[in-house]
């Protein structure tokens, strides 16, 4: 993105002068809560189609896949409960730091569940529904097939803040561990290593 000679009226300023980073952080954090904190019924997320395939296609079942599916089913259910607890805290006016963690859990679970689903499908897992390039649509996690879900969910640990950066944020903001050592503070952007 390049901005050249753009004038923005002061009435469009968000927050106080010098407080822009906090405003940006608030927005980014809300995005994370929005990504990870959707209210879902049991089996409402990616575990839904995987569980449905398991139930409808007994011929695909193996012991290894069963163990892994059950573990992920439990983890998805627990992540759902954590999201529900977070919402109850918000309603009660006691927001907790759990929001930062929801997106981390959501990304890993989506990736592992969709990866398992591709394996569960056996021969069909080697096919893909459609490689036609289109303008970006709305993200559709459950409307398309497992292969799409697997590839798209790889972005879940990058978009909205990477998993590595979010772990830093949890460690520093929630657990109060020391900040990363930095050499970029008080250096003009044009002088930074790029």
């Amino acid at each position: 993105m390049f901005l050249t000679d753009v004038r923005i009226p002061d009435s469009r300023r968000l927050g106080e002068v010098g407080d822009g980073w906090r405003v940006a952080q608030t927005t980014l954090n809300n995005e994370r809560v929005a990504i990870g904190g959707m209210r879902l019924p049991r089996e409402g997320g990616m575990i839904g189609p995987a569980a449905a395939t398991w139930r409808e296609r007994p011929e695909l079942r193996t012991h290894d896949l069963h163990q892994r599916l059950l573990k992920l089913w439990v983890e998805a259910e627990v992540a759902r409960l954590t999201g529900e607890r977070l919402r109850q805290q918000l309603v009660a006016g006691q927001p907790g730091p759990e929001g930062a963690g929801m997106k981390l859990a959501f990304a890993r679970l989506n990736q592992e569940i969709s990866g398992l689903e591709v394996e569960l499908l056996g021969e069909e897992g080697l096919s893909y529904d459609d490689w036609t390039m289109r303008r970006p649509e709305l993200v559709d996690f459950t409307g398309r097939e497992a292969g799409y879900r697997y590839l798209r969910s790889k972005g879940n640990s990058i978009e909205g803040g990477t998993t590595e950066i979010l772990l830093n944020i949890v460690a520093e903001r929630v657990l109060g561990l020391p900040a990363e050592p930095r050499t970029d503070k008080d250096v003009a952007w044009k002088d930074l290593a790029r």
């Binding site: 569980a51 398991w54 139930r55 007994p58 079942r61 193996t62 012991h63 069963h66 163990q67 599916l69 059950l70 573990k71 089913w73 439990v74 983890e75 259910e77 627990v78 992540a79 409960l81 954590t82 529900e84 607890r85 109850q88 805290q89 009660a92 006691q94 759990e98 963690g101 981390l104 859990a105 590595e164 979010l166 772990l167 830093n168 949890v170 460690a171 520093e172 929630v174 657990l175 109060g176 561990l177 020391p178 900040a179 990363e180 050592p181």
Partner: protein, 357 residues
């Protein structure tokens, strides 16, 4: 919808229990007790049960209890877990009490609720709700046989013993021989109970009573496991902020920050799962799934937290004087108690229709 939060009253209960444990259950004392012949802390039990009336939380007021619910008992267990307190709360005030509730054994219930007597269900600690358990022989109205792996039997005044006729029998502890086993977890020691013509009173059917007792035990154990895990995480984070190596606080190294952040996420998830199980037990809705999910999730998290506590404390974490080993042993033993995570995952498979191949 399930209430996953803590009420003001529950938070007040937590502070009261925590204050008591801060004053009367320090790690050095727990370690010293595990080296003695009396690993249980009877004075602490008296203060919790008799003084604060906590042994009767699950018992209706008509039977001398407090008529509270599993939600409050879960809060007590969180705090007892945080302190690895060597008291028979889970075994007597939850598991044995639930068996007596199923049998409507009024008089014994009142005894246990008052905390003046301790009860133990004579079913091996590692068994999941619904698993087959051992029974003893019934001959001329007396009981004969041997039962192993009975948690907290050493401090029990009355044992609830399943017999081969399908009955659950109340047996006075002085009518049997209780032999301590050398246990992995010295803060919840096991014992062998030998019955050689023990006088017994039939109080009800063992099947439903044992099942109900183990289900409540499994569900509320998740709250104890949350307490253990929360201590491990909190104490490790505290230590790593202070401990310096390479001229930096060790907690500033990203490899460790990320591990601790991952652990935090697991602990946060465990709290939601444990609260959900406690609330389900209290309301009676969706209990089987809530308990199985909580136990399938809780055990690996509590063990992971304790293992990280040992590793990230370095050499000091391997010493007898440092309490990390108490948490490691309790959480490892808890990972078998009332069924392993694997046993509970299999229960989930049945309950939600994800059948094995």
């Amino acid at each position: 919808m399930t209430d996953l939060l803590y009420s003001e009253e529950e938070e007040a209960l937590r502070s009261a229990v925590r204050d008591l444990l801060t004053d009367h259950c320090d790690a050095a004392g727990v370690i010293a007790r595990t080296e003695s012949d009396a690993p249980h802390d009877r004075a602490l039990w008296k203060a919790l049960a008799d003084g604060m009336g906590l042994a009767g939380l699950l018992v209706p007021e008509a039977h001398g209890g407090h008529g509270a619910t599993h939600r409050e008992a879960a809060v007590v267990l969180e705090e007892l877990g945080r302190a690895v307190a060597p008291v028979p709360y889970l075994t007597s005030a939850v598991v044995a009490t639930e068996a007596l509730l199923a049998c409507e054994a009024g008089e014994l219930l009142a005894d246990l609720a008052s905390g003046r007597r301790v009860g133990a269900l004579a079913v091996a600690l590692h068994l999941a709700p619904g698993a087959a358990h051992r029974t003893v022989r019934l001959e001329d109205g007396t009981l004969h046989g041997e039962l192993t792996g009975i948690a907290d039997a050493a401090v029990a005044d009355v044992l609830l013993v399943p017999a081969e006729d399908g009955g659950l029998y109340a047996v006075e502890a002085d009518a049997v021989t209780i032999t301590p086993q050398v246990s992995l977890d010295l803060t919840r020691p096991l014992a062998t109970v030998t019955l050689d013509g023990a006088a017994a009173t039939r109080i009800g059917d063992a099947g439903p009573a044992v099942r109900r007792a183990l289900r409540a035990g499994a569900g509320l154990l998740a709250s104890e496991q949350f307490g253990l895990a929360d201590w491990s995480l909190t104490e490790t984070v505290r230590y790593l902020k202070e401990r310096k190596q390479f001229n930096r606080p060790v907690g500033g190294f990203q490899a460790l920050k990320h591990r601790l952040a991952q652990l935090w996420l697991e602990v946060v998830n465990l709290r939601a799962a444990a609260r959900n199980a406690a609330d389900a037990l209290a309301t009676g809705e969706d209990v089987d799934v809530a308990v199985a999910v909580a136990q399938a999730y809780a055990a690996p998290v509590a063990v992971h937290a304790a293992e990280e506590a040992v590793q990230l404390h370095g050499g000091i974490g391997m010493t007898w004087e440092h309490p990390a080993h108490l948490y490691l042993k309790r959480s490892k033993a808890d990972s078998l108690a009332y069924g392993t995570a694997g046993a509970h995952r299999e229960a989930v498979a049945e309950l939600v229709g994800l059948q094995a191949p």
